[in-house]
Structure formats: C-alpha cells, structure tokens
C-alpha cells in the first residue's frame, strides 16, 4: 500500500472511521502476525500480540507522525510488543530442536515442514535484537533503509546485526542438520 493510501486511511481513523481502521487491519494483519510469530514461535502468542498491536494503533493513532511511513510505526510496535511478551513469558531461553518438533519424528514431517521448524527453532537461539533484523529483512521484506527506520538505528548497524544474525543462524542450523 502506498504512503498516500495509508495517510488517507489514518486521517479517516483519526476522525473515528472504523472502516478505515479495518482497511489498515486487512493490509497489515498478516505481516504483523508473521513478525510476532517469528519472534515468539507460538501462534497463540502471536495472535495475542497482533491483537494488542492493533489496539495500540487504534488508541494512539493521534500520536502517529504522518511524516513517517505507517509500516515503520506498526512494525516497530509489533516487534516491541513481541519482545515485551517474551519478557513476560520468560521465554528467553533458547528452544531445542526437540522442543520445536515436540514428539514428531522426521519421517512424519514433510521436508519443508522440517526445514521450517529448524529455522524457527534456530531463530529462537539468537538475541531478540538480531532476530528483529532477520524478521524485518526476510519475513517482512524490508530494505536496509526501512529496517533502519523501523528500529531507529543507523544502516551500518542494520548491516552488522544482519551479518552477525546470519552467522549465528548458520551455526545453529548446521548444528541441527
């Protein structure tokens, strides 16, 4: 969705137009849910976080700075809420492969599901700061510049975090195959 479209919807939201809010929800529900899921590794938690994110957007839409892109604001809220959720649920401990598969043998899984589970488990082994850049880059399709805007860090830091995250993921994945 273009910045103009978002801006118009936000203006209508500010005047209490629920249809405009629903249009934003339709547009951003999937990326926000995916961001939360990749951060939390749990669909129920991701659903709760997604709900919280949109409630916060609705309540604080007046505080949104229209000179910024809406996606950078909502993605930032989504990542912060996910990290807060991790803190609350005390899920900072890395998951093991066994936790990820939870009793399902490899022979019962399709190859793609096995890879997906491995990646998801590997993601949980890296720090949330690094996980955030991976989620933004690979699951939300953000550029370096956009990641920099969402996380409010310099592009140079985005690149270095991404590099470190990928190295750690590579090691984690190699340890699981």
């Amino acid at each position: 969705m273009s910045k103009t479209d978002d801006t118009q919807l936000i203006e209508r939201c500010r005047s209490g137009d629920r249809k405009a809010f629903e249009a934003l929800l339709v547009e951003y529900e999937k990326p926000v849910f995916n961001a939360a899921f990749r951060m939390l590794n749990n669909r129920d938690d991701a659903q709760d976080v997604t709900q919280t994110v949109f409630l916060k957007v609705f309540e604080n839409i007046d505080q949104f700075d229209p000179s910024r892109r809406f996606f950078s604001w909502i993605y930032r809220i989504a990542l912060n809420e996910s990290i807060n959720w991790l803190g609350k649920k005390n899920r900072l401990e890395p998951l093991t492969v066994e936790t990820a598969f939870e009793g399902k043998g490899p022979e019962q899984e399709l190859e793609s599901a096995r890879v997906a589970a491995n990646v998801q488990a590997a993601l949980q082994t890296i720090k949330s700061d690094y996980r955030s850049v991976v989620v933004l880059k690979h699951f939300l399709g953000c550029s370096y510049t956009e990641i920099s805007q969402v996380l409010e860090i310099p592009e140079k830091k985005v690149k270095s975090r991404l590099y470190t995250a990928r190295q750690q993921l590579k090691d984690a994945l190699n340890g699981r195959t």
Binding site: N34, R43, T50, L55, A116, R166, L169
Partner: protein, 183 residues
C-alpha cells in the same frame, strides 16, 4: 597487520551481505567479484550466507487465524475517544504564567493563614462562615509585575504588588463566557 586483515574481511563480508540482499552498486559488485575470484574463503562465506538467506526466504508466510480480524474489530471500542478539551479551570491553570501565579498565591495564602492563626483564638475557628468569601482590605501597594492573559475562555491581568513586607497577587480576570457557580 592483523588489524588491516580484519578490516578487509569486514569490508568484504559487508559486500557479500549487500550482494545477497541485492543492495550493492555496480562498482561494489565488481570489487566483490574480484575479491571472490581470488579468495576461496570469501566464496565459502558467500555460499554459506546465501544458503541461510535462501532457507529463510523460502519459508512460507504464516496465515493468521481466520477469526483474528473479527476478534480485533470486536475488541476495539465502538468509537474513538475524542480529544478532551480542558475545562475552564484546567485551561486556566494550564497557562504557565497563571500556574506559577496560582502556586505563588497558594503559598502566600498558606503563610498568611499560619501567621494569622497565631493571633486568633481557637474559638474563632468554630465559626468558619467569616472565612468564606473574605476579601482583604485594600492596601497601598506598589506594582512589581503584570502578566497579561488572553486565552480562549478568559482574559485580563495578574499583577504582583508589594506592600511593605507583603506580596500581593491581584487577579483581574474576566471570563468570556458565563460561569455557573454551584454551591
């Protein structure tokens, strides 16, 4: 020498990442190609990181639960709370000059009350009606400072006067709208 080597590695690892992410210029790509042509280690790094990125990019997006949109729409209030406009006194006290003046006035009033109470018998406090709406007698005073107020609801001046050792705050404010006072 080791530091120089490390900085070169950092530079090329950045280029490897940029190339994988499609965020590399033609000049940088040429530089990276030249480096990779002469570095088996560099080629290994490229292949490993490209493999990790390919795995990440190859994952399907998770579909949100079917009812999530409905749940969210039902969880938000029917209408957004409109911006609250401040009431008369809130608006008045939100004015910085008046806020300080009111604080100062309260302090003066408190100090005078303490001084006065030492000269008043306890019996005087049994009948508080005399304290309600008490207006000080006019005294000769010298104007020290005046602040003009011209807000949406109220206009006038707040003056600070001195009379010997006393400091007096003189409010001369007029509401632009009728005020209902309820006892």
């Amino acid at each position: 020498m080791a530091i120089e080597q490390k900085s070169i590695e950092q530079k090329y690892s950045d280029l490897v990442n940029a190339a994988i992410d499609g965020e590399i210029s033609a000049d940088e790509q040429a530089e990276l190609d030249a480096f990779l042509a002469n570095s088996a280690e560099g080629r290994a790094l490229y292949e490993e990181l490209a493999s990790v990125c390919g795995t990440l990019d190859g994952l399907d997006a998770e579909e949100p639960p079917n009812n999530l949109r409905h749940v969210i729409m039902n969880s938000i209030p029917p209408t957004r709370e409109p911006e609250q406009s401040p009431g008369f006194w809130q608006g008045l006290l939100a004015t910085p000059a008046l806020k300080y003046a009111a604080t100062f006035a309260a302090g003066v009033f408190l100090a005078l009350s303490i001084v006065d109470s030492s000269n008043v018998s306890s019996k005087a406090f049994d009948d508080v009606t005399g304290l309600v709406g008490t207006v000080g007698q006019p005294v000769d005073s010298t104007l020290a400072s005046t602040v003009s107020v011209d807000e949406l609801d109220v206009a006038g001046t707040v003056s600070l006067r001195s009379a010997g050792s006393l400091m007096i705050l003189d409010f001369d404010l007029v509401s632009k709208d009728p005020i209902d006072i309820e006892a």
